[in-house]
């Protein structure tokens, strides 16, 4: 069984704020799910002779997709000042 500390560590890695009750539920659920999916350890490794599903696809480095106007994208900002997205200051002056 995965520990509560592990759950808290995962939540921190995943940038998720959880409540105490949810931490306990997740401890149980994730342990059960991991026990089930752990079956894959029984599988022998692939022989490597098959054509893999992934392949490289190259394209010219040209602008083609238009995924919305500038104004549409600006409108999605949670906090907007003029044409700027207001974000938290993360660089601080040395004291």
């Amino acid at each position: 069984m995965i520990s509560l500390d592990d759950i808290r560590g995962l939540a921190a890695l995943a940038r998720l704020k959880l409540t105490g009750a949810e931490e306990e539920n997740l401890q149980k659920d994730i342990s059960n799910i991991l026990e089930y999916v752990g079956q894959v350890s029984a599988i022998p490794a692939a022989k490597g002779e098959e054509k893999p599903m992934v392949r490289n696809v190259m394209r010219k480095d040209e602008l083609s997709a238009v995924l919305g106007t500038r104004e549409d994208l600006l409108k999605a900002f949670p906090t907007r000042e003029g044409d700027f997205n207001v974000v938290r200051q993360i660089i601080q002056k040395d004291e």
Binding site: L10, L13, R15, K17, G38, P44, A46, G68, N85, R88
Partner: protein, 467 residues
């Protein structure tokens, strides 16, 4: 005909072409049914306010000489498919007010065809679930018994077709999310070959698994929608064209992996056997096949999918768009936005994905699952060299009651037959195979056919024999 919305797409298309009805008539018929049923079924998260205007435009295009089987046909669109200028929320609080800034490629294609978009359909949040109970906006109710789930995650799209509040629908399928609700709602659902349909403009869950596909009343209708949306797309580098895969031989053989059918309900298995017998009468030969790794498919899927989903969902940080909450510092801003914006199942899968990708566990889980996936793909490809399609039930049971599958693992087991096609990239379809009775309700169940990569045609040909 009590209501024009009862028509199939093929029937409506003929009537439109003959000038017997207009697109506006069809749109109004759907709106009338929505008025009657949507509150009870919770199919649509939003019915667009310009449905009749879109239909008028389609009628004008027809009057100007345009022809397309989908011109003027009202379709329901799953809420994770972008339509420019409209909300696409993936049934999540995270994207409740998010307005799409461009059209998904499949939407562009449907607009070119002249389809009418009725509204955006309810779904499991971020397409994570098999019951539609994970929607932030409440579950969809099954039109055959409203105390039961519609299936999911494309539950709204499946129920929309079954309840005649659209003539057809688009869904997305990452582990069965088109086929399983199609089975539970008694409609046809197709998961195309991976890459057959562009993923550009879909809200991503598991990028190596996701495919958009049609839900429809008949196989013929599903084929009409598939033909309109398929094709290689410069905006999706994983998309393929018709020449990518070799044309398979027409053997008139259907493979049945009987060793996998142990956990299927007895009456569902009876429907399955009688459908197989019907196919034999149509000249198909049944062949026993073995897929030795298939029992591990679900375990493999529940490693790969959360790994990809947790990665894809890292983009929702409350900074550029979507729900934004503030804490004491940037890390707290992220955690607060994501903690509040995502529902319980989404949080669970992000946590699971984070676990299987963490250093120390990666080889044991993700590495093994990737190897298992390749083995499974080889087994399915080998099996399909001797047969045109593999048949199984779509799901082991008919639609459970709302709230019945409270434990996440028991919910995941509904996907036992559907995840394989996503892992291997093969096309698969669910076609109704009759009904079974539960507590006095007649509940539909579906038969799943899986074909070789690029061979949707086999699914359509055999699927039509089952109707």
């Amino acid at each position: 005909m009590s209501n024009l919305a009862d028509l199939t797409i093929a029937e409506a298309s003929k009537k439109l072409a003959a000038g017997e009805i207009t697109a506006v008539d069809l749109a109004r018929a759907c709106l009338e049914n929505i008025e009657k049923h949507n509150k009870e079924l919770n199919v649509y998260l939003e019915v667009f306010d310009d449905v009749v205007v879109q239909a008028e435009a389609a009628d004008k295009r027809r009057a100007a000489g345009e022809k397309h089987p989908l011109l003027g046909i009202p379709l329901a669109i799953k809420d994770n498919i972008l339509i420019e200028g409209r909300i696409a929320s993936a049934a999540s609080k995270m994207l409740e007010h998010y307005v799409a800034t461009y059209d998904a490629t499949i939407i562009t294609k449907l607009k070119e065809a002249g389809a009418v978009f009725v509204g955006r359909t309810n779904m499991d949040e971020f397409a994570m679930g098999g019951s539609n109970e994970n929607s932030a906006y409440g579950p969809v109710h099954n039109p055959h018994d409203i105390s039961r789930i519609s299936g999911g995650s494309s539950g709204g799209s499946a129920a929309a077709v079954a309840a005649h509040v659209a003539l057809g629908a688009l869904g997305t399928d990452t582990g069965g999310s088109v086929r399983e609700p199609a089975s539970f709602c008694g409609v046809v659902g197709l998961k195309p070959t991976y890459g057959a349909v562009s993923r550009s403009g879909l809200i991503a869950m598991g990028s190596s698994l996701d495919q958009a596909g049609p839900l429809a009343k008949t196989v013929e209708d599903a084929e009409l929608i598939f033909n309109a949306i398929q094709g290689k797309d410069a905006y999706d580098s994983t998309s393929v064209d018709k020449g990518t895969y070799p044309a398979p031989a027409r053997t008139k053989k259907i493979g049945v992996p009987r060793a996998l059918l142990n956990g299927v309900d007895a009456d569902v298995l009876e429907r399955f056997e009688s459908s197989l017998t019907a196919l034999e009468h149509k000249g198909y030969k049944l062949v026993d096949i073995e897929l030795p790794s298939a029992p591990l498919a679900l375990a493999c899927y529940y490693i790969i999918m959360p790994a990809e989903a947790s990665t894809n969902l890292a983009r929702y940080d409350g900074v550029r768009y979507g729900l934004s909450r503030k804490g004491n510092d940037l890390a707290e801003d992220y955690a607060a936005s994501r903690g509040e914006g995502f529902g319980p199942e989404v949080r669970r899968r992000i946590m699971l994905g984070t676990y299987v990708l963490s250093a120390g566990y990666y080889d044991a889980y993700f590495g093994k699952a990737t190897a298992a996936r390749e083995t499974l793909r080889r087994e399915v490809t080998e099996a399909l060299k001797g047969v045109e399609a593999i048949a199984t039930p779509t799901a082991p049971v008919p639609a459970p009651k709302i709230g019945e599958k409270a434990d996440p693992l028991s919910m995941y087991l509904l996907d036992i037959f559907t995840v394989t096609a996503n892992l291997t990239g093969n096309p698969a379809i669910s076609v109704p195979m009759g009904t079974v009775t539960r507590e006095g309700s007649e509940l539909p169940v579906g038969l799943q056919l899986t074909a070789a990569h690029g061979d949707e045609q086999a699914l359509f040909t055999i699927g039509k024999e089952l109707q």
